[in-house]
Symmetry: C2
Subunit: 409 residues, 2 copies
Amino acid sequence: MARIVQKYGGTSVGSVERIQHVASRIERAVLAGDEVVVVVSAMGKSTDELVALANQITDTPSKREMDMLLTTGEQVTISLLSMALQARGVTATSLTGWQAGIQTEESHGNARIEAITPDRVETELSEGKVVIVAGFQGISVNGEITTLGRGGSDTTAVALAASLKADRCDIYTDVTGVFTTDPRYVKSARKLHSISYDEMLEMANLGAGVLHPRAVEFAKNYNVPLMVASSMEDIEGTLIEEEVSMEQNLIVRGIAFENDVTKVTVKGLPNRLQTLSRLFTTLSEHHVNVDIIIQNQIDENHINISFSITQSSLKETLAVLQEAQEELQFTDVVFEEELAKVSIVGSGMVSNPGVAAKMFDVLANNDIFVKMVSTSEIKVSVVVQEIDMVLAVEMLHKEFQLAEEAVTV
Amino acid sequence: MARIVQKYGGTSVGSVERIQHVASRIERAVLAGDEVVVVVSAMGKSTDELVALANQITDTPSKREMDMLLTTGEQVTISLLSMALQARGVTATSLTGWQAGIQTEESHGNARIEAITPDRVETELSEGKVVIVAGFQGISVNGEITTLGRGGSDTTAVALAASLKADRCDIYTDVTGVFTTDPRYVKSARKLHSISYDEMLEMANLGAGVLHPRAVEFAKNYNVPLMVASSMEDIEGTLIEEEVSMEQNLIVRGIAFENDVTKVTVKGLPNRLQTLSRLFTTLSEHHVNVDIIIQNQIDENHINISFSITQSSLKETLAVLQEAQEELQFTDVVFEEELAKVSIVGSGMVSNPGVAAKMFDVLANNDIFVKMVSTSEIKVSVVVQEIDMVLAVEMLHKEFQLAEEAVTV
């Protein structure tokens, strides 16, 4: 008998029919003898509908009242799923976030889980029930209803799995697992049997829907094995865990990429200790998210700083810089649009210094000019022209032999 | 400064526009310097929609899961109303039933309030906030979400008013108050300035939407002055309290009536001690609700028993009686359909023995034959033919001078 936490997202419980389907999957796990805790999101578009309702009332609803409003979405799903299970003869009970003991900090809209008191969940499990918990929500020490922000239901599932010492946490979603790269762009993309937490974190932008980075971090910290699989099809998913057994020595595990990247270069900044800090503090105060940063020394007294942002934040970025020109003492700003970021990810990289060189070689051989480079222990990212993005991914996918089943390199 | 509990029903908060209107009314009370606690129901048809969703899942949803599902309805309303107040610059906070300390028995679908721990409400009030509480819901000692059943939001409001020692509990609804009789039938029906709890209980069937009997009982037990008024129009409502000051000596306060009454007579029952008890125990075991009961002795050994039921339960009643004929030892059952009940209600009646006689006199003078009679200390009910109902009400309304403003009789 295994103890399993299953999580189903909004699309998987988006209609009465899908809820019935989810109930049938849970029933199968119960019949197999497993103890099952299920975490669910709000049904399909219901959160959007609630947000629209609030916006009809006011343009600036308070975060506290938004939490009060939005948490009803998951409460509807848990009750319906519990009914669906009971109708199949499976004993089940639904619990809101506060009933399940999901304690968060005293913050609304994006609260972090501080502790889980799973007594009630344990009691219900010991009575042979399937326990269905509302994801995305918790309770603060002052009895306030809070929400966990984006990816919140994933985090609820992982945190519950950790506190219940579950054998596994299964994240059921609308993809069948984690791929070597995006199969919509690269036909030969292959689903991975397993991937490490860190690799998963670096790959996170490969389809935002797969798994929220916060949940992966949580799983890594508490060493909870995660399985990402399809809620619709019966196909083996991808296991995310610390020790990647099968493909342990694969240098590159996957290729992540994103378009709509813009490179901004601030020229002629004074070469002083505070320059970097001042520039990026100014940007972050205006909520400009910066990705790659490169610093170039021009002469003894001046540096250029380049950084990448998303296309949509260019206007705001330029306005912020213009306003701060006198304070930051730069001479000029230039920018380049229609760029893309391509990253190779793999924990084997740390002990293989030639990987970045091979990446650059592949790109050069295909006449792809590299605009920026950034590296971490398990990732090398390059910024290229947007029109070269898919070609770069395809070539890298081929050269690093990702389409082939795992082999020891 | 007064402390006031206001309650708004589902129709009054049925749309974003109506919620804004309710917010404007609350704002007015706040500007007048009052401390305000607001109890609201789910928006318009939202409860029906949730029930429909559950019925798509299963024909027999458990009461516990229905409570989990339906309580989301009020939670949506409290958050939206709080946002609407905040948008007007009125500090407000919303509380679910459990946050407001509404403790109920461990029962689903129709739980009774056992206690109210209004600490949180008091704290929020002391911080100058309008407190908006979800009606109809509470929490059991085991942390289960419960609902109070029909009229639940009225009961929440009255119970909160009692525990908060509020100066008044205002029930805002889609009528402008309590009338001497139904104004849809009798043009000269007059709105009452005030009415006693007991009279209100007897008048309860005069428009089921006005106020749930359970809430009136609660108000009577804790001596909470209730005001029933319109949520749409600014008109004085009807005050329900123990001491009816203005119209104290009015013998008859109002005339209640209902149609679809059926009279059933069970003939030739044995004249024994257990006969009545056996008959009505049998009926109640089959959930047949009986209103008026009359017993007639036929001879030394036999009695006839007549009782009134609603038209819709006739079939079931006859089936139950047929099955129990051998046990109950009666000879025959007859019934009469298309009847109506007309009642005069007034606490002054108890000291005026001639009131019933005057009622019979009025009816006889208008050729209205009385089929059954039932009396209480503050009510006389008669069963007449349905076609005579409106005439009976009009004549009684006129003879007891109910269209005129209160005068001492």
